[in-house]
Symmetry: C2
Subunit: 280 residues, 2 copies
């Protein structure tokens, strides 16, 4: 496996791979890899001739400095994990390489980015669309893999690819959970044992929404109130948002008819975690 830090070297490799007409599966990550990333890499490994994984903690998608500073970092360990998944290359550029002096171009999006996390994390998705555009142009993947836990990010990137006429197939893979239901997230590493236990209320609230939907309850206000009460019963938590939205437009629903997304962002102590389920 090649470990590549320079854009030029990555381009040389990509052009050689393209020349041999081999397909490229790409898993962009910010490192601190967990089972969710593993599922993306395995799927990409299966479906493509070459597997390229990037590790780049993109500063421009962090709306809070302390979140960026406290984000878990474990580059050497991550490279070993990727090696074990039989990747062909890992791309780990530094920030001077990605945002050199004079950098001044940005990819922005409205509509889909006005909802959910976009409402509470200003600038976050513009950071995402900009770095994903750059990575796609550098890696030229046939397919790129993202996790459904970041549902809104997936929707934004699918729209980016459609709007900008990028020739990349976006594959969204199911959320991977711990045995007790907590969605894998790099930020879980920040939780202390008590917080780790408290974090179960997140999936618990989503399961409750699923149960209510199964019992033919369609009024979102009624479902959200139940979810709020589950979170509020749990110590040291704070609700950032609990929303039920149209799964395509991400617009708030008053009652569910058609495919709906139940999405939550909850502070567990000082760590903000997100999760979601689809109801249809």
């Amino acid at each position: 496996m090649e470990v590549i830090t320079k854009i030029d070297e990555m381009r040389t490799r990509v052009l050689s791979v393209k020349d041999r007409k081999r397909s490229i599966g790409f898993v962009p990550t910010m490192g601190a890899l967990h089972n969710g990333h593993l599922s993306l890499m395995r799927r990409a490994r299966e479906e493509n001739d070459e597997l390229v994984v990037s590790i780049y903690l993109n500063p421009t998608q962090f709306d809070k400095n302390d979140d960026f500073e406290n984000y878990p970092r474990q580059l050497d360990k991550d490279i070993e994990i990727i090696r074990n998944e039989n990747a062909d290359a890992v791309f780990t550029p530094c920030t001077e390489e990605m945002y050199p002096d004079g950098f001044c171009t940005h990819v922005t999006q409205d509509k889909l980015t006005d909802a959910l996390c976009g409402r509470v994390r200003p600038g976050h998705f513009n950071g995402v669309t900009t770095i994903v555009t750059k990575l796609f142009n550098i890696i030229e993947p046939d397919r790129a893999y993202f996790g459904q836990k970041d549902y809104q990010q997936c929707a934004v990137i699918k729209r980016l690819v459609t709007d900008m006429n990028m020739d990349v197939d976006i594959q969204v893979c199911p959320t991977v959970r711990e045995e007790d239901g907590l969605a894998f997230s790099s930020r879980n590493k920040r939780l202390n044992p008590e917080e780790r236990q408290n974090a179960l209320c997140i999936y618990g609230s989503l399961l409750k929404a699923g149960d209510m939907f199964a019992s033919d309850i369609r009024e979102t206000k009624e479902i959200i109130e139940e979810m709020i009460s589950i979170i509020k019963k749990t110590k040291h938590t704070k609700i950032d948002y609990i929303s039920i939205v149209n799964a395509n437009t991400l617009e708030d629903l008053s009652s569910i008819n058609g495919k709906a997304l139940v999405a939550v962002a909850i502070w567990i102590g000082n760590t903000r975690l997100i999760d979601n389920i689809i109801l249809e």
Copy 2:
């Protein structure tokens, strides 16, 4: 020569050309072709296996509705002109094809777009960077050709390509002028005979700047004052801007040392024309 109106068809052609390892030279235009465009097409024809020309009057880069509505249109004539230049394909999509319902992604740039035309045409360059990104993704050119008359546009697009890691070589070709010095522009077609005569003051003012520079005058204020007086002596003209800037950063200069751009935008009656020269 193929005339293609659908993105899918264009992509099929591009992928087939790439498959045969033929290089693509691309000339994006808004139609109303003139000798300036011809020079771009001829250079692209020489330097590449395939020549693709686009004709698309991009509404999002017009800051004034009446400028968009009054922009000259001559699609059939343009297609014949391009056929005579031995192009392989002309791409003429409609706006529903380029900006379908739900379109919400934009490519924006700061710094370079704050100067010159960017200052007086808000949103113009964001329209340019967005459409150029789309066209580059659809056509995947090896080389794309632009005219120096649109110097700021060339600078913005070079920066776009660098910042977004696009694998396109941007070629800037010299401004082509009528025998009397007026730079070719699609908007010249709007001038009546008197205005056409008055428009000579534009190049006249640039020549004056060149003469003063040749006479070792370096203070930009002194040069600009002379240029203003030439324009003001001409009837039915209005100065939009006359600027002397660093040719790389486009920042205003108080005195010239190093490569400088003298750039002007002048209203001739109801038609706004731009032109520039480099001093070094």
